[in-house]
């Protein structure tokens, strides 16, 4: 009924998310004030922890890399009209493939480990996404339900594998550690500024994934089909675009992207696979994709923000011991709440402000839906 008023692009893309994040910090600051700490001190600790040092940057970018992978995974599925909740499970199962290959090749050279574990991670992530995709495409089983279920299956399956099958001798539910010559190089090997941070070569894969996604979505025929299916199923059918194949291909790519997180986190940093290594990165990827409006540039910025929240949050808990680490989670949750679920909260206000600036002209085309 109430027609949405067109807002200038910079308002929707820049101003609205910034306002949302600011509001989240204001309310988060109030929570800090309630427990008797100075909100400004807390915010400074958070900011300094994330960006104040080379090591802070390194951690922030490392976390951001995880978010880029899981965020892009959600975005690509979303462009095809699907809500992939299964990034968590896809990344987890991908860890199995990545670590198996890494442990197999770790006597050779790290380049082989990188290549092999990347391919294996993408394949396993894809596999874990293709099954729900197939069920959706052929059987109509809702992808939200099936991907959630596949998260649970992944969790149980991986626990079993880690505890019973690929357990390191003497260890409890984890694999052995990758040999020295098979370990991926850290950025700090090349740039001293990053000090002891876990930022590794996979970061470049994150950048490549952003570019790849942009090209795929907006510069290829497959991307065109994905967008058509996501925007209008009937139009896709009319155009002769096979929903079955687009759903399966889009989910395969989505799962492969989520899987890349295994290379960054398990192979690159932990150098072994442990139970629950994904640690919620898959779920937060949903918020990253939403905040980034499923656009690679937006996702890059959102991933950076969440990476900073993760890193800064840990520093905050360290600097101000009175602030419980749960409060950091609260601030993260507020950001997700205000940018994701309530992302359009400021829209009516901004519409009123910016609608006046646009000069009404009778020559302008009327929207088709004003006339029933």
């Amino acid at each position: 009924m109430s027609a949405r008023q067109p807002l200038p692009n910079w308002v929707t893309i820049v101003l609205m998310p910034v306002l949302n994040v600011l509001l989240a910090f204001v309310i988060g600051g109030l929570a800090v004030a309630i427990i008797g700490e100075n909100p400004l001190d807390a915010m400074w600790a958070l900011f300094y922890g994330a960006f104040g040092t080379g090591m802070g940057w390194g951690f922030t970018l490392h976390y951001a890399t995880n978010f880029i992978f899981t965020g892009l995974a959600v975005a690509i599925a979303f462009k095809a009209g699907m809500f992939n909740i299964g990034g968590e499970g896809q990344a987890y199962v991908a860890g199995l493939g990545a670590i198996m290959v890494a442990l197999w090749l770790d006597q050779t050279h790290w380049t082989l480990v990188l290549l092999g574990s990347t391919l294996a991670a993408m394949m396993m992530g894809s596999l874990w996404a293709i099954i729900p995709a197939w069920l959706q495409a052929k059987r109509g089983s809702h992808i939200v339900i099936t991907t959630i279920m596949f998260n649970f299956i992944a969790s149980a399956f991986m626990s079993y594998m880690l505890a019973q099958v690929i357990t390191a001798p003497g260890a409890n539910a984890e694999t052995r550690t990758i040999n020295e010559q098979g370990r991926l190089p850290l950025m700090s090997d090349w740039f001293d500024a990053f000090q002891y941070s876990p930022l590794n070569i996979t970061f470049f894969f994150g950048i490549a994934a952003l570019i790849f996604t942009y090209v795929l979505i907006w510069r290829t025929k497959l991307g065109y089909k994905i967008r058509t299916l996501g925007a209008n199923k009937e139009a896709a059918r009319y155009a002769g675009i096979s929903a079955v194949s687009v759903i399966i291909i889009a989910m395969a790519i989505s799962g492969a992207l989520a899987g890349l997180m295994a290379v960054n986190e398990a192979v690159g940093v932990q150098k072994r696979l442990v139970v629950g290594y994904v640690h919620g990165f898959g779920f937060v990827g949903i918020a990253v994709a939403f905040m980034g409006r499923s656009h690679p540039v937006g996702i890059a910025l959102a991933a950076l923000l969440f990476g900073a929240l993760y890193q800064g949050g840990q520093e905050l808990a360290f600097e101000l011991p009175a602030v419980p680490s749960d409060l950091v989670v609260v601030i993260q949750a507020l950001v997700i709440l205000f940018t994701g679920a309530m992302g359009d909260m400021f829209r009516p206000l901004l519409e009123r402000i910016f609608a006046r600036r646009v000069k009404p002209s009778p020559e302008a085309p009327t929207t088709a839906d004003t006339e029933a």
């Binding site: 009924m1 027609a3 008023q5 067109p6 907006w218 510069r219 290829t220 025929k221 497959l222 991307g223 065109y224 089909k225 967008r227 058509t228 925007a231 209008n232 009937e234 139009a235 059918r237 009319y238 155009a239 002769g240 675009i241 096979s242 929903a243 079955v244 194949s245 609608a355 646009v358 000069k359 009404p360 002209s361 009778p362 302008a364 085309p365 009327t366 929207t367 088709a368 004003t370 006339e371 029933a372």
Partner: protein, 525 residues
């Protein structure tokens, strides 16, 4: 230009003393940059049938929505029965005696007529007493206005014409004195439309005031006393129906002379291009929608399929275009059998030389979120012309979109504009340009001018005829009988999934009426 007297403006609010049931003064409403209504004056005399015509996007529906309380006007006055009012919402409008019959009925399918009528006006906690009251009241209304409907019938068992009567009864039951009807004949057979007009005349006799919104000039001429014409959000003028003609009204609507008739030479049909043999199609839940339909379309002729909406035309189009696999039967293009395997058959059918202008451009023919150029390649996106290999080249696609924008006079001339921001007529031109501007053997067209303004209708009709003259086989499906008769060389009439008969486009109104109701006039007594 505005010919009605606005003397009542000087009258102080003398209750119920006004000769006008509704009097709008300088009403304006803008949606963002779009001025939907601009200083509209509209005076509707009591006891009259007042028509409002205008092209799509002229602002008719917005104006009525303001009157019915859906929107609030930015400025201007609304006088109802000589009283200045501010209509807050639709229940307030009802209190003031203004009722609306929507284009799309708002009835609960598995409720009875009576239950639907008291819906929203149930009264007390227990239904029984208000049901009894309603039944009595309904009997009276039916008697007074000749609106006969069985109060205990389920809505799903009623015909469309009867459902519409229930909508009218609903409004009357709530005490409406002024009845707004928005495009009421869109879903009716010619006979049902005539019955509706008789009901409207009866209502006028009994003292009601009717506002009839339509784009069909024939209806305006047939039933209204006064007619107001809107164009681009402004009121062009109000005239007495007896003093005007369809040509004059069309000119007022468009702002220039319009050819209402289509010029065409007799067809010269050649070889059969499209063959449909024994086609049967069922819908999602297995209900048969198309039953054993067979026909041919030859190169260089336009075959029209007439019929009231919902008699299987949509399903027929879906099957021929490859969107839906038929249950039985076959479709051949240039003698080649169409294979329905996989959910991308539409692409294969296109490669066989069939172009499809779908009946619903918003739901099917376009992705409204896309920029214009992206819609300009929909269905043909895999072509090398739009980028080599797996890549899509916006540059090449935009260049072609620009050429088509020029050729089909699509406005605004901007291929980077979001398709939703084009008017209905221009959106339709985007679809037509895409489907017509290529090598094709068969064109199937559904509702080519639905929601399209008169100026564009003329243009679209001309293009369809041009294609025919180039030797293309055209299958035209439309619920607008006038359009079918103006364009077709042969007409097949569809009813309940079957082809009732074949008529010539100049067959009598009676023959069309009968066959659209399922009776073959050739077999009739």
């Amino acid at each position: 230009m505005v010919e009605h007297q606005t003397t009542s403006a000087q009258q102080p609010s003398k209750a119920a003393g006004s000769e006008f049931a509704i009097d709008l003064k300088k009403v304006s409403k803008a949606f963002g940059p779009v001025q939907a209504n601009k200083n509209i004056d509209l005076a509707v005399k009591r006891n009259s049938i007042h028509g409002i015509v205008g092209e799509n996007g002229a602002g008719k529906s917005t104006l009525m929505s303001i009157l019915y309380g859906f929107y609030t006007a930015d400025s201007g006055e609304i006088w109802v029965d000589g009283k200045l009012v501010k209509i807050k919402d639709s229940s307030h409008a009802l209190e003031l005696g203004i009722g609306m019959v929507h284009q799309h009925f708002m009835l609960v399918e598995n409720f009875t007529v009576l239950e639907n009528i008291i819906l929203g006006a149930e009264g007390e906690t227990l239904l029984a007493s208000s049901m009894a009251k309603a039944r009595e009241e309904l009997g009276r209304l039916a008697k007074d206005y000749g609106l006969d409907v069985d109060p205990d019938a389920l809505i799903e068992d009623l015909s469309v014409g009867q459902e519409q009567r229930v909508e009218i009864l609903k409004a009357l039951y709530r005490g409406a004195d002024v009845l707004i009807l928005d495009e009421p004949t869109g879903v009716l057979t010619p006979t049902e439309a005539d019955q509706l007009f008789r009901i409207l005349e009866q209502l006028r006799e009994e003292g009601k005031t009717i506002i009839l919104i339509t784009h069909k000039l024939r209806e305006i001429m047939a039933v209204t006393d006064t007619v107001s014409v809107m164009r681009r959000g402004e009121m062009v003028g109000t005239v007495a129906t007896e003093d005007t003609s369809p040509e004059q009204l069309a000119e007022m609507m468009v702002g220039r002379r319009v050819l209402l008739r289509v010029d065409k030479t007799p067809a010269e049909p050649k070889d059969v291009v499209l063959e449909v043999n024994g086609l049967s199609v069922t819908d999602d839940i297995g209900v048969p929608r198309v039953k054993d339909v067979s026909f041919n379309v030859r190169a260089g002729e336009i075959v029209g399929i007439a019929g009231v909406a919902g008699n299987g035309q949509s399903e027929l189009l879906r099957a021929i275009s490859g969107m839906e696999a038929p249950l039985l039967g076959e479709v051949r293009i240039n003698g080649e059998l169409v294979r329905f395997d996989g959910d991308d058959s539409a692409a294969k059918v296109r490669q066989m030389g069939l172009a499809h202008v779908p009946e619903d451009r918003i739901k099917m023919g376009l992705v409204t979120d896309f920029e214009e150029w992206e819609n300009s390649i929909l269905g043909y996106h895999d072509s090398e012309a739009y980028g080599s290999g797996p890549f899509l080249s916006p540059k090449q696609s935009i260049a072609e979109a620009e050429r088509r924008i020029e050729m089909f006079d699509i406005r605004p001339r901007n291929p980077r504009l979001k398709t939703a921001n084009f008017s209905g007529g221009n959106q339709q031109k985007v679809v037509l340009a895409r489907e017509m501007d290529r090598d094709l053997d068969v064109l199937i067209v559904g509702q080519p001018t639905r929601g399209v303004d008169i100026g564009a209708i003329e243009f679209i009709h001309k293009h369809i005829i041009e294609l025919r003259d180039k030797g293309i086989a055209v299958l035209l499906v439309s619920v607008e009988l006038d359009e079918i008769r103006a364009l077709s060389d042969r007409v097949l009439v569809m009813f309940d999934g079957e082809i009732v008969t074949e008529l010539t486009p100049d067959a009598s109104e009676r023959d069309f009426g009968l066959s659209m109701a399922g009776v073959d006039p050739k077999e009739g007594a």
